[in-house]
């Protein structure tokens, strides 16, 4: 057999060889997909961020009105000085920032308290009805985040702040104090009652994974129950608390709905609502400065937290082998406690819904007597004297088109997010250990720390002009899809990675050996094997997109209104009953979606959160 010896080939052949190697590297599945994803993510995440920052440091067209010698497009610190160090800074930046921090910290801590206690009761005690508590705990999170805020308004609204009386004021006949009706306290409570689900899920997962022997060892050592909780259990669930903190804090920092319902009427602005009001009057650069500040504050807070607890994060695999769950006996009070917890949970879910529904049947706001009963807001024909002439929601074409937009947006977003998840998972897992894969993973995480409203703001600057082959997308439905998919990238990456890790690499290699190309391997091996993850990712995204408001509030136009933004529009116009009817429709759709999730094997809220 004449096999030629390996000789040092001439330069031209070596260049050819290097070229062939490069092409092969470039076209290998993981590299090709990683590069495509990278380009996509740079375009969807980094470029918009850059454009936003760029806008804040250049003169805009309208700045000529305020600064006579301004040249649009010229570099300037004008917006930053104006926002950070001028007479209006307090009103535009410092006060809202302070409010945001107060609200986010307060809501996160309260959510942590509620979620952790419930998790401990469910996982580590003999309280009856734990299964029910477990199921009820996820429902508040499924509903739109500002549901409780709107219900709060129905209950506690007061004439003092210039509104119409709420149910409480109607019943007791005396004005409700403003601090109870509006401002930080209601915002904190209503947000915490929505977000405690995060802590419940994270902490119960952590508690489930802790080997009780660790606690029993302390018990044998003579430690009291409270001491065990403080010294053993708490440090072990700390990483879970941290995850919950990061997730909740960054969400509340960027949340728009609650503060807009319960803060804006009394001029209690947070950064999110302040960004909106700047953008709404066309002051994009000023709004973007606020968005940049919001992003920075969120990142810094997350960073500090990770630093503080960072060194302790390494408890990951606790126990490992089979463990025995140690159950704390609550004694004779356990039934009372169970009843209390369940009543609390049901109230948090049912009371808001009941109040909202009750309100939609009241013709004149502020009058809650039966004589005021009406179906007008549901099925009434247009009447110029009521709700600015809007017909009842069930015969209102605007509502139908919004509902269709909501469903359409959620379906398309969910599809692309789930698809992206599989591809991201593939590129990240197959390239494990390479710099390219690490880069893809890191960039995919960025949207996680950008609050929703800021992410939406980023997209205004990006797509208001033509960029390369992409036409200006502002005001289009496509933009809503793009922003929703982009914001979901961190979640899709995480669930995609965990789905891909479950597919052994040999299964794909066996396909390679059999001669299948990349497309055939995806079609016949990888997609079928990750389909459960795809379905649960799809359904979860469907629900979160359906009730997303902060992200898209800056991007919707009358033609692209969705149900979530309609509720805000009616609220801001003072048509509370219409707003409440719309949010009830939205909740109904979301609950139907959630019911469908439950039908699918392997699909659950927990999985979708990457747990």
């Amino acid at each position: 057999m004449g096999v030629p010896e390996v000789l040092q080939p001439p330069l031209s052949l070596r260049i050819l060889a290097a070229y062939r190697r490069f092409i092969r590297w470039l076209t290998s599945a993981r590299v090709l997909l990683a590069l495509i994803l990278l380009v996509m993510m740079v375009y969807l995440i980094l470029v918009p961020l850059y454009r936003m920052v760029e806008t804040t440091v250049t003169y805009q067209e309208r700045d000529v009105l305020a600064v006579p010698d301004a040249v649009p497009g010229q570099l300037t610190a004008y917006h930053w000085v104006r926002m950070l160090a001028s007479r209006v800074s307090r009103v535009f930046l410092y006060a809202p920032l302070q409010h945001s921090l107060v609200v986010a910290t307060g809501a996160t801590l309260l959510a942590m308290l509620i979620g952790s206690i419930l998790a401990w009761l469910v996982i580590r005690t003999d309280m009856p009805g734990r299964h029910l508590v477990n199921n009820l705990a996820t429902i508040p999170y499924i509903m739109p985040s500002w549901t409780i805020a709107m219900a709060w308004k129905v209950m506690f609204n007061t004439r003092v702040a210039g509104g119409t009386p709420g149910l409480l004021e109607y019943l007791i006949g005396r004005p409700v104090p403003t601090w109870l009706a509006y401002g930080p306290i209601p915002i904190i409570i209503s947000s915490a009652l929505h977000y405690y689900t995060f802590f419940f899920l994270f902490v119960s997962a952590a508690l489930m994974s802790i080997d009780s022997n660790l606690e029993e060892a302390a018990e044998l050592a003579g430690a009291s129950r409270s001491r065990i909780l403080r010294r053993i259990t708490f440090p072990l669930v700390l990483p879970a608390l941290l995850s919950g903190f990061i997730m909740t804090f960054s969400k509340v920092m960027g949340t728009f709905g609650g503060p807009n319902v319960l803060g804006t009427p009394v001029r209690y602005y947070v950064i999110a609502t302040m960004i909106r009001s700047n953008v709404a009057i066309g002051e994009f650069a000023d709004g973007f400065v606020l968005a940049v500040v919001l992003i920075l504050f969120t990142i810094v807070t997350i960073y500090i937290n990770q630093r503080l607890i960072g060194t302790r994060k390494s408890y990951e695999t606790i126990g490992g082998r089979g463990f025995v769950a140690h159950v704390a006996r609550l004694g004779p009070w356990r039934k009372v406690l169970a009843a209390g917890v369940i009543v609390f949970q049901v109230l948090v879910i049912a009371l808001p819904l009941g109040l909202l529904a009750y309100d939609t049947f009241m013709l004149h706001p502020g009058n809650y007597s039966l004589s005021n009963f009406t179906l007008h807001y549901w099925i009434g024909k247009s009447d110029i004297n009521i709700a600015n002439g809007a017909p009842g929601v069930l015969r209102n074409p605007k509502i139908y088109s919004s509902a269709w937009n909501s469903i359409r947006l959620s379906l398309v977003t969910a599809f692309f997010t789930a698809l992206l998840g599989v591809i991201l998972g593939y590129a990240i897992v197959k390239g494990r250990g390479t710099r390219l894969s690490k880069l893809v993973e890191q960039i995919s995480f960025i949207p996680y720390v950008i609050p929703g409203i800021a992410f939406g703001a980023v997209y205004i600057s990006m797509f208001s002009k033509r960029v390369g082959p992409i036409p200006p997308l502002y005001g289009t439905f496509a933009l809503l899809v793009i922003v929703s998919v982009a914001k979901h990238i961190p979640y899709s990456a995480r669930s995609g990675v965990s789905a891909m890790l479950q597919v052994g690499r040999e299964l794909e290699e066996a396909g390679q050996i059999a001669g299948a190309d990349l497309w055939q391997r995806f079609k016949r091996i990888i997609f079928p094997l990750t389909s459960a993850g795809f379905v649960s990712g799809f359904l979860l995204t469907f629900i979160t997109t359906m009730r997303e408001l902060s992200l898209i509030i800056l991007l919707v136009t009358p033609a692209t209104q969705v149900l979530a933004s309609q509720t805000m529009r009616y609220t801001e116009n003072g048509d509370t009953q219409m707003a409440n009817a719309v949010i009830l429709i939205l909740i109904t759709l979301v609950l139907i979606g959630n019911f469908v999730i439950g039908r699918f094997r392997g699909g659950s809220l927990k999985k979708g959160l990457g747990m």
Partner: protein, 363 residues
Amino acid sequence: MGTTITIKNLTKRFGDVVAVNNVSLTIEAETFITLLGPSGCGKTTLLRCVAGLEDPDEGEIYIGDRLVFSRARGISVPAGQRDIGLVFQNYALWPHMTVYKNMSFALEIRKLPKDEIDKRVKESLAEVKMLGYENRYPREMSGGQQQRIALARMLAYRPKVFLMDEPLSNLDARLRMDMRAELKRLHYVAGATTIYVTHDQVEALTMSSLIAVMKDGVLQQVDTPDRVYRCPSNLFVADFIGNPKVNLLEGVVDGQGCVDLGEFKVAMDTQGVEGKVVLAIRPEDIAAYTEPTPGAVKFTVYSVLPSGADSIIVARTGEREVTIRVPGISPIKMDDSVWLKFDPQMINLYDGATGNLVAVRKV
């Protein structure tokens, strides 16, 4: 039907680790070659390089006279076009496909007509005695059955080269015995050149026509099972092959036809070797006597391990400990005295410094 495989100066690195280090190997057509070595020695990596699942950092691979990989020329033929079949350690049957689909997959990609696919699937199933399992899913079968299907999946598209990565390691001992015989028979019938990776020396010795022993990515010896067993080319191979292990005794050649082990001397043909050596003798090449015998050295029995067909005796004198294998159940008991006689024809000498074979046994 088989084909030659030529590997030239192959090197594969993972970061700082050199998994395969400058390996050159020519495998004649229809050979059953085993890559043998402890875990982490690079044997699986070498197999994956041949399969086309890894691209080496240096070297060339030919299958037949077709160049399938060359770093210098920038060539790497995709795995699916190398005309090879691979059986994975964990079988890698696609869990969402039936046995039939698992087997027809590669044939469909090769765009074979439907009746030909059907014929091939049936034939291959018959070869592994699994006809009638076409509609089962992998999870509905035992480990041994899955193993057979994994083999059949490879047979179905009739590659010229079989690659097997520890295919029997997930089976229980009994099944493994049966499958060894089946695999050997399959190779005999199909005649495909086979590269078989294992860390199990019994598998290597019983099945292969050639064994390549690897350590730290470097080929240590490529030889027939018989040669690898009788004349390991260095101390690593000597120590790795054989159960119970070979006796390795450090000593010095005294220049008078003896190896001086300190406690006693062994007379043999030292073939001109000088200085420090390691004397290697297999446990079965030492005769044990219960009474003083000329030329035998007195030892004290430390432990006796009878196992039916033979008995292993561990004996000591001073600091020296040797292992002996005697046929049947031995009457020797612990703390008995035994007189051991080394068969001078059966001794290999290794250089004390390099560990390489310097004096080869006669038989």
